[in-house]
């Protein structure tokens, strides 16, 4: 029998090829036919990558083509086929921006025509094109296999998780519908009630709604794309900035200072258990007519609204002022501390514990130490406040561990898996949406096609549904057979 050479891969793949969560730099790798086209599209440097010589390095910026926003300064390494690892056109983008920047670049690359690589797929391509020999391939494969086994066990442990439970529920709805469709198609003479398109529309609508929620929910997707954001909130002069610096320097992360006024929001990133956490140094919120301050107050409010959790700071040496109370009330309302809102985790901090109580000056404190809990802790429903000193570093590690606890209590699996999941959800939704919206025009075979496509895509998350499964359901639920 003749052995055929496999066809050359037609699609372009990408992945983050440095470990996530740690390290100051990271690399996004792209391989395949569309590599140069994608690079041209998102990279702005002196030369277009497609015009550059092979095996050269270029300094430039990654720009989001949709809003022209700059993502990061990068070094782009260009390698033309066939002298590359995969024997295809390859580009490696070196960034120093940490996890979030890497995620964003990966997202841009996939939005512009590449798909996420399977574990070991670069090696697979290298191998298929004859680039590496058996010994090399096996060495790489050992690692790949370890990875896939790990992701498998993760996928299994996730079966008990929230996301999997939801996807399982979605799938069972779709399977139920598909069973009915296939039943009516394969057994038209079995005297079974005609297909109810209205019912199918209802189910697909529900599924779409739930997929949208899954995609939207801050619990899953947003954190991956944007990180878990913890703004540091408090009136002016409570020491937010020094706290911000203290937390970040403890974690050796990079502080990005955005251009603009000094009153602008400053963000910094930490990596906690592989999940990116964004600290936001906010401006104090107070009534003002100054347009620049007004602008920054709006930004603070936005930060509170989008926050995963809030570090709320008061000045222990001064005591509670009117502005503190106003801010407490604002945060309480907008952070959804009250049920049924999904409460944001609030960590209450008494800063400047190194200083003796200051003598009352122009601002008369409304409360002194004895009342901290009543005034600050109770409205936020937190058990106790933490005394910290940004200056001396007291309890900074405690704050970090509290942030870690609140982030990891959601028990998130590694990001790359999640990105794949989100991707699958998005693709599944395209199918179920079509089934819902076009249902009037679609014949049952086409509705079945869309639902099957959606199921196959969801199957990438929790395991495949085979035609055998559908037939099993038909035979067990309906009395079939002439």
């Amino acid at each position: 029998m003749k052995r055929l050479k496999p066809q050359i891969n037609t699609d372009t793949i990408t992945a983050i090829s440095t470990p996530l969560g740690e390290g100051g730099i990271g690399i996004v790798r792209i391989s395949g036919k569309k590599t140069l086209k994608i690079a041209d599209h998102i990279f702005k440097g002196k030369l277009k990558p497609s015009q550059a010589k092979t095996h050269t390095i270029h300094y430039g910026k990654i720009i989001d083509p949709s809003d022209k926003k700059e993502i990061d300064e990068v070094l782009l390494m260009l390698m033309r086929k066939p002298h590359t690892y995969t024997c295809e056109d390859m580009v490696e983008i070196n960034t120093h921006g940490g996890v979030m920047v890497l995620k964003k670049i990966l997202e841009l690359v996939t939005q512009n025509g590449a798909r996420l690589a399977e574990p070991g797929e670069f090696t697979k391509r290298a191998f298929l094109s004859g680039r590496i020999d058996l010994a090399q391939a096996e060495a790489v494969l050992d690692i790949v296999k370890a990875k896939t086994d790990k992701s498998l066990s993760l996928a299994l442990s996730q079966l008990d998780g929230k996301l999997s439970a939801k996807i399982k529920a979605l799938k069972s709805r779709l399977i139920k519908t598909l069973t009915k469709l296939e039943l009516s198609i394969d057994f038209p003479e079995e005297n079974i009630e005609e297909l109810d398109k209205i019912e199918i529309k209802k189910i697909t609508h529900k599924v779409n709604y739930e997929i949208s929620n899954l995609l939207k929910s801050g619990e899953s997707g947003k954190i991956i794309r944007e990180g878990a954001s913890f703004p540091i909130v408090g009136r002016t002069n409570v020491g937010k900035s020094s706290l911000f610096n203290a937390l970040l320097s403890e974690n050796k992360a990079i502080v990005t200072k955005y251009p603009g006024t000094t009153r602008d929001v400053i963000e910094g990133w930490l990596s906690i258990d592989g999940i990116p956490v964004k600290l936001v140094d906010t401006a104090g919120v107070k009534d003002t007519d100054n347009p620049i301050e007004k602008e920054s107050i709006l930004k603070t409010r936005k930060a509170i609204k989008e926050a995963f959790g809030i570090l709320f700071v008061v000045d222990k040496s001064v005591g509670i002022l009117k502005e503190d109370i106003e801010l407490i009330n604002y945060v309480k309302d907008s952070a959804g501390v009250h049920p049924p809102h999904k409460g944001k985790k609030i960590i209450g901090l008494l800063n400047k514990c190194d200083l003796p109580p200051a003598p009352p000056e122009a601002n008369v404190p409304l409360a002194q130490k004895a009342d901290w809990n009543k005034v600050v802790a109770e409205p936020f429903k937190v058990r106790s406040l933490i005394s910290v000193s940004a200056l001396r570093g007291d309890n900074i590690n405690l704050i970090l561990s509290l942030i870690a606890k609140s982030v990891s209590s959601n028990n998130r699996p590694p990001l790359i898996t999640r990105e794949r999941h989100l991707n699958a959800l998005r693709r599944a939704k395209i199918c179920t949406e079509r089934a819902e919206k076009e249902i009037k025009n679609l014949t049952p075979e086409l509705i079945a096609y869309e639902i099957k496509s959606a199921l196959n895509t969801l199957g990438e998350i929790t395991g495949e549904v085979t035609s055998e499964d559908i037939l099993d359901r038909i035979f067990s639920q309906f009395c079939i057979g002439k």
Partner: protein, 645 residues
């Protein structure tokens, strides 16, 4: 003469196609069967086609098989099913005159060049050096051939059950074949036991038709074979005297609580449910006996019964839906509870039958056995059920028997090859992406079998592009290549397709202005256009069909019109399907060498190693479908293959 190129054993639907295709491809073929008079017998219900099965008939026909044409010629009621569910799942079902079908098929076989028919019971396969050399009959006669195709149906160690009585038989009133079963076991084949059942046949003259609901066949019947079609191309001519088969109705009635009572009361006399029953074979879930239905679906007291005519000149009727192995007296009393059948007389009772089958993972997708070279299995022997499934396998086994493998050819094989019209040596394997037949065989050789295998459209992942209406376009090229499809017929199909493509191009480039088309759109409640668009775009609208735009697009013959409508309506879907197929093709085209050793591959999971060694897939695509083989295993496999020279 005792030396042949090919020996086909068994005269059912698999055997007929295999014998015809082998002799038509130039092999001197011997056709052996237990009873010459029952060649081509429809053992169960007198109908062909239906969901999934219709597609198989169309495909066998396009390859140059006989089942479609024979059905068209002897059909007595044609119905297109699923007409409201889209062309991919349209399926033709035909009531057939059982006797006429058999006679028609026998006549074709008798007149086939290169084919000798003999009545004999084959008792042993003669094997030397793991190669099948011939067979030995029960009476001691030896025949030699360089390819042996076994299509034993339910005859291998057949055991009939009626109530708690049981006796060896291959079909009611016919002998089973015991020795052959032992011979196969001796050769090392793993055999299992399956069970199927059939319904009582009753006397039409004792049915009260006034109580029954008739189900009329289509007034303008479609047909299976392109050969039937070539004789009547235009609808008006077809009606005037082209394809105009008899139109005999079926009748529908229902069982009721009284039937339920009788059946449940007599379960202790059922070989399936009584503790004294000895049925071990597994029956099909899609074709349960009536007692099965009442036991499994207790809340359902009424089941549908189709009364199907057995032929034009017989008083026999088949009661579809009432398969049973209950004792005959129970069969009589349960029938008498059914409206219209109160006084019915049974002509032949229903019965259950157990038979030996060979686990189908013992054959390659060519249907040649892995254990013995030049030996092929097809039909129920491989665990399938259904005339159509059998015919499809007969076709594939027959063609492959004519395509000798290139390795180590023996003397007889050279002789055989000299007699071939076809010199191509690559095996004939249809993929899941190009045919239902491909899905059928791939499922058989790849997945574990739990019950008699029946085709369903839902098994076919690419069913939108594998339609019965495009079977010729998909498969006729193979029939033509092997010389079993008439060149003229093939050219005609190509010509027709060229016309379709030409017309499609025309419709895509012909732009209509709002002035031209809006009155037509308005008349059919379709949104008017504001700027010129192509007629193809207009035709894509679900509410528009070709006849509405005919004044602008020009008139066409109905077949071309139909093909163009499907192309337009399914444009986006067909494209999506082809993309999927293209992606799959990479794996499907990656061949795994025959004697590949899985035990030395690093990194394979133990389960994958076992399953792969057992199934010995021919391609990575097939390996990928084996339950238990994960994608990480596949990666390891690719690595190993790459370095295997």
């Amino acid at each position: 003469m005792t030396n042949f190129d090919c020996i086909v054993v068994g005269g059912g639907h698999a055997g007929c196609e295999a014998a015809l295709v082998a002799s038509r491809m130039g092999l001197n073929t011997l056709f052996l069967t237990l009873n010459l008079d029952t060649i081509g017998q429809m053992s169960c219900n007198p109908s062909m086609g239906g969901l999934g099965k219709s597609q198989l008939i169309f495909e066998v026909d396009a390859l140059g098989g006989e089942i479609g044409y024979a059905t068209d010629q002897t059909g007595i009621g044609f119905r297109m099913l699923n007409t409201k569910k889209g062309p991919a799942v349209w399926s033709l079902r035909t009531q057939v005159d059982r006797k006429k079908y058999r006679e028609f098929m026998q006549n074709i076989l008798r007149n086939q060049k290169n084919l000798i028919l003999k009545q004999a019971e084959v008792a042993e396969i003669i094997v030397k050096n793991n190669k099948a050399k011939g067979i030995c009959t029960r009476t001691g006669m030896e025949y030699f051939g360089s390819a042996i195709i076994l299509t034993t149906g339910t005859f291998l160690n057949g055991l009939i059950h009626i109530g708690l009585k049981h006796y060896p038989s291959g079909r009611m009133g016919e002998l089973p074949s015991k020795d052959l079963s032992d011979s196969l076991k001796k050769l090392g084949f793993k055999l299992g036991r399956l069970k199927t059942g059939t319904s009582p046949r009753v006397d039409k003259n004792t049915i009260d038709f006034s109580k029954l609901i008739p189900q009329e066949p289509d007034k303008e019947p479609a047909h299976f074979s392109y050969r039937t079609h070539q004789k009547s191309e235009i609808r008006s001519q077809r009606l005037a005297g082209g394809f105009n088969p008899p139109k005999v109705p079926c009748y529908i009635t229902h069982t009721n609580r009284k039937t339920q009572e009788i059946i449940l009361k007599n379960l202790d006399r059922s070989p399936l449910f009584s503790p004294k029953g000895i049925i071990k074979g597994i029956g099909p879930r899609y074709c349960p006996s009536i007692e099965d239905k009442y036991v499994k679906f207790k809340e359902k007291s009424s089941h549908q019964v189709f009364i199907e005519p057995d032929g034009l000149d017989t008083n026999e009727c088949y009661l579809n839906g009432l398969a049973t192995s209950l004792p005959e007296d129970v069969q009589i009393s349960l029938l008498h509870t059914i409206p219209g059948l109160e006084k019915v007389e049974i002509i032949r009772p229903g019965y259950g039958i157990e038979y030996d089958f060979a686990y189908p993972n013992q054959v390659y997708p060519t249907l040649e056995t892995k254990l013995v070279k030049n030996l092929y299995f097809a039909g129920q022997l491989l665990g399938t059920s259904g005339y159509e499934e059998a015919a499809a396998q007969g076709m594939v086994a027959g063609i492959n028997a004519c395509l000798p493998r290139s390795d180590k050819r023996s003397g007889t094989e050279t002789a055989r090859q000299a007699s071939l019209k076809v010199k191509k040596k690559s095996p004939f394997i249809l993929s899941r992406q190009e045919a239902y037949i491909g899905v059928l065989i791939d499922d058989l050789v790849t997945k574990p079998i739990r019950e008699p295998y029946r085709m369903f459209t839902s098994r076919v992942e690419h069913r939108l592009i594998l339609r019965q209406d495009n079977a010729c376009e998909r498969l006729m090229k193979y029939g033509a290549k092997f010389g079993i499809v008439n060149k003229k017929d093939y050219n005609k199909v190509n010509e027709m397709m060229a016309n379709v493509n030409l017309k499609l191009k025309e419709l895509k480039t012909r732009r209509v202005t709002p002035n031209e088309i809006n009155s037509i759109l308005k008349a059919h409640h379709s949104a008017p256009i504001t700027y010129p668009v192509s007629l193809f775009q207009i035709l894509k609208r679900p509410e528009i069909n070709y006849s509405m735009i005919e004044p602008l697009a020009g008139s066409l013959n109905p077949e071309i019109e139909n093909k163009i409508e499907i192309q337009a309506k399914y444009d986006g879907y067909i494209k999506r399907e082809y993309q999927l197929v293209k992606r799959m093709k990479k794996l499907e085209d990656y061949k795994i060498p025959d004697a590949f050793n899985y035990s030395t591959i690093k990194g394979l999971s133990r389960e994958a190693r076992e399953k792969l060694s057992q199934t010995r897939p021919l391609t990575l695509g097939q390996a990928n479908r084996i339950p238990g083989v994960r994608s990480s295993d596949l990666t390891c496999l690719i690595v190993a293959l790459k370095n295997h020279v």
